[in-house]
């Protein structure tokens, strides 16, 4: 059973990294807020993806609009551009955007300052917290290169945004970084581009090309360790555990200043150690993970498995209790009931072991029936919720939330941007992108739902098997003429160096790692009976 957990974990990690949106997960911890423009509510990592709206088909015209094509062409002189730049340097970004847009709307792309206007407009948008709009125009500057001298600055800005915010991966990674030959670039930008080119090679299955790209990275640099992580995950997926372990340990030894990357590496190392049956080492590695508590549901579950195999049922069950905390209320964890039942069974508490199976059916029975009844899986709230927690869906959902937030924040600029059409233009850009992301979410949701349903059926099958084994154990015990257990109550000390807080249903985050389960072992004389 634990092997399934592992495979699930490996697929999760692989999906996390090699799947389309992988790296931004690793990037979310880096940034603070935007540098002064009023970035709105950034979606958090743990929020599951919102349910997608029905996907529309985009027309040619809409796709053109999405690319930011400018339609109005009323000749506007360079003084408008100058005014826009002046306002920008005076930090009047709303007015600067308005005048720069006036200039762009009144000139062709080949106009003398058009490239500069796009760049300043992108910067103004970024300052105002409109990161997606900024990315669109930085992309134009970097892709068209009508002003080649702006390329490094545009790439720096894109790199900054990709580190801090969810972004349009197709636009930036596929259309720009992967498809473009930038020529000579300074070292830091070269690393940025080489890494993403290598990553996309790996995602596309061009492993040798990917390795070539990664081989050009400077050892010890920020992107070098990200590349090591990609390669380690690739080895992990191929089940080259020793090689993967070596690579993850290289990242840990480097102690890169990115908490989530370090934590992911720790969890990967722990999983490998677990697979190698080094449970104590695996547990010690899990304990080093210092992510926020609400992100540690899988860590708790995997720790519980490690403790179970170490036969420390007290600790294992304590960790399972911790998973009931409100911080994990959306955690899709049918597996915890399997483990709970196993622990009770191993302590010869057969009735409560069966109760754990009932708990599973209570929690997930409806979803299991929905799968058997072949109803639309997205109509079942349990399956839908679990599917939306898929890392790929979460990543897309984060981008969708960002788009929604930024679209709503446009209202703040209504008075200044409506008259010249900038508001309508931005609303079109955001509206079309939201439609596109919704379509991707819809597509991804079906795959995710199918995976969740399959996992659930596996768990149900294991539960049935476990129920049978429990029944068998009860029968064996009955046959062995059971005696009354001479139970001895465990005493909790009056006082001491440790404080014992009896759990009364109220979860304290600082206690979740410290739960212990006190129960007598009723298997004390099994051997004697036999």
């Amino acid at each position: 059973m634990r092997a399934r957990l592992w495979i699930g974990g490996a697929v999760l990690v692989a999906g996390w990294l090699l799947g389309a949106p992988g790296w931004t997960l690793a990037q979310e911890g880096e940034g603070g807020g935007g540098d002064g423009g009023g970035q709105g509510d950034e979606p958090t990592a743990e929020q599951p993806a919102p349910a997608p709206a029905p996907a529309p088909n985009l027309s040619e015209e809409e796709l053109k609009q999405l690319e930011g094509a400018v339609e109005q062409k009323v000749q506007v002189g360079p003084e408008v551009f100058d005014e826009g730049v002046k306002l920008f340097y005076e930090k009047k970004y709303i007015g600067a955007s308005r005048r720069l847009w006036d200039y762009m709307a009144g000139n062709e792309k080949g106009a003398e300052n058009y490239g500069y206007a796009e760049f300043f407009l992108a910067q103004a948008f970024e300052k105002l917290g409109l990161t997606h709009a900024a990315v669109e125009y930085y992309y134009n500057v970097a892709k068209d290169r009508t002003k080649p001298e702006l390329l490094p600055d545009a790439l720096v800005a894109l790199e900054r945004i990709t580190r801090r915010y969810p972004f349009d991966q197709d636009l930036v990674l596929k259309d720009l970084l992967y498809d473009t030959n930038f020529g000579y670039l300074r070292e830091d930008l070269r690393e940025f581009i080489l890494f993403y080119q290598g990553l996309l090679d790996y995602r596309s299955g061009f492993v040798r090309w990917g390795r070539n790209h990664f081989a050009q990275l400077d050892k010890g640099s920020y992107y070098y360790y990200k590349a090591v992580y990609v390669e380690a995950v690739y080895e992990l997926v191929r089940y080259n555990l020793d090689k993967a372990l070596e690579m993850f340990r290289e990242i840990l030894a480097a102690n890169v200043k990115q908490t989530d990357v370090m934590n992911n590496a720790r969890q990967s190392v722990a999983r490998i150690l677990f697979e190698q049956k080094k449970y104590a080492e695996a547990y010690a590695m899990y304990e080093q993970i210092d992510a926020p508590i609400e992100k540690q549901a899988t860590v708790f579950l995997e720790e519980a498995w490690a403790q179970y195999y170490m036969r420390n049922y007290q600790r294992a069950m304590g960790l399972l209790y911790a998973l009931e905390a409100p911080a994990f209320f959306r955690f899709f964890g049918p597996e915890k009931y399997i483990l709970k039942s196993l622990i009770y069974k191993n302590l010869c508490h057969y009735n409560v072991a069966k109760d754990a199976i009932s708990e599973f059916l209570q929690g997930y029975g409806e979803a299991v029936r929905a799968v058997y009844d072949r109803v639309d899986l997205d109509k079942n709230p349990i399956l839908l919720d679990a599917a939306l927690q898929d890392p790929i869906m979460v990543e897309r959902g984060k981008f969708q939330s960002l788009l929604d937030t930024e679209l709503n924040s446009l209202d703040r600029f209504d008075s200044q941007w409506t008259e010249n059409g900038l508001m309508a233009h931005l609303q079109r850009i955001y509206g079309l992108k939201i439609q596109e992301v919704n379509r991707l979410l819809q597509v991804g949701l079906q795959d995710s739902l199918r995976r969740v349903a399959e996992r659930l059926l596996e768990y149900e099958e294991q539960m049935n098997l476990l129920e049978y084994e429990i029944g068998l154990s009860i029968y064996k015990r009955l046959k062995g003429a059971p005696t009354q257990k001479e139970g001895k109550a465990e005493e909790i000390p009056y006082y001491g160096l440790q404080a014992y807080y009896e759990f009364d249903g109220e979860f304290w985050n600082d206690e979740l790692h410290d739960f212990r389960f006190f129960i007598e072992d009723r298997c004390f004389s099994e051997e004697r009976w036999e």
């Binding site: 036969r311 420390n312 049922y313 007290q314 069950m317 304590g318 209790y321 191993n346 302590l347 508490h349 009735n351 409560v352 139970g487 109550a489 465990e490 005493e491 909790i492 000390p493 009056y494 006082y495 001491g496 160096l497 440790q498 404080a499 014992y500 807080y501 009896e502 759990f503 304290w508 600082d510 206690e511 410290d514 739960f515 212990r516 389960f517 006190f518 129960i519 007598e520 072992d521 298997c523």
Partner: protein, 235 residues
């Protein structure tokens, strides 16, 4: 204060407070019973975040019960903590001479009723010196504004000492109830109430409210409990 002014209600209050502390302490001895054995019981077992060793403190106090004077006090103490339950407050000194505020009652009595107390001066306390046994049955944590976890403990004091009044020394016994809030590994704050009962020619009580700031010396010498085994079942 004269014995006839001793308020019976105050004794009831003391008894009540003591009972509350004792009753609250009883569930600390959580024990797995037969009833809980089938489903098991869950405990969060944590190393004590704060432990006291040699405690030095300075305090500000208030003695509210004298009708003629409201007394303020300054004080100090030294406590040696034996373990997490017991400690000995070796020295506790409260000094209140010259720190009194006349309530105006005496002049009011004279002006309105042409009466004067026998000798209110003799009941003005100069200082109290005592030594106490400290029992700390309650230890726990609370959330401050739903955000920060703070740790604290509640203790009872019982001891002997002496009270020096304007006119005489009296032997006294001392009862106290207090709460400590840990502000850091070495700094804590105590809020307490004490009742001194003196004997001799006259018997009476002195109520003292005090706020102390304490320094926990040699805190680093205490054994770090991380490596200690946790009691319980290990199948």
């Amino acid at each position: 204060m004269h014995p006839e002014r001793a308020d019976r209600g105050r004794w009831c209050l003391w008894l009540g407070l003591t009972a509350v502390v004792l009753l609250a302490a009883v569930p600390l001895r959580a024990e797995t019973t037969e009833e809980g054995l089938d489903q098991g019981r869950v405990y969060a077992i944590q190393d004590r975040a704060f432990r006291m060793n040699h405690e030095f403190g300075l305090s500000l106090g208030f003695l509210p019960l004298d009708a003629f004077y409201k007394m303020f006090s300054i004080g100090g103490h030294y406590v040696v903590h034996f373990d997490e339950m017991w400690a000995w407050e070796a020295v506790h000194l409260t000094y209140s001479k010259y720190l009194d505020v006349d309530t105006g009652l005496r002049s009011e009595l004279a002006d309105r009723w042409d009466a004067s107390p026998t000798d209110p001066e003799e009941n003005r306390i100069d200082f109290a010196l005592d030594t106490n046994l400290m029992w700390k049955p309650l230890y726990g944590k609370s959330t401050l504004l739903g955000d920060t976890v703070i740790f604290g403990e509640t203790y009872l004091l019982l001891g002997i000492g002496t009270e020096k009044f304007e006119t005489a020394w009296y032997p006294a016994i001392n009862l106290g109830l207090g709460m400590r809030i840990f502000l850091g590994e070495t700094i804590s704050m105590r809020l307490e109430v004490r009742e001194y009962i003196h004997f001799g020619e006259s018997t009476g009580g002195t109520l003292l409210f005090a706020l102390s700031f304490c320094y926990n010396a040699f805190a680093e010498d205490l054994l770090k409990p991380a490596a200690l085994p946790v009691q319980g079942v290990t199948p």
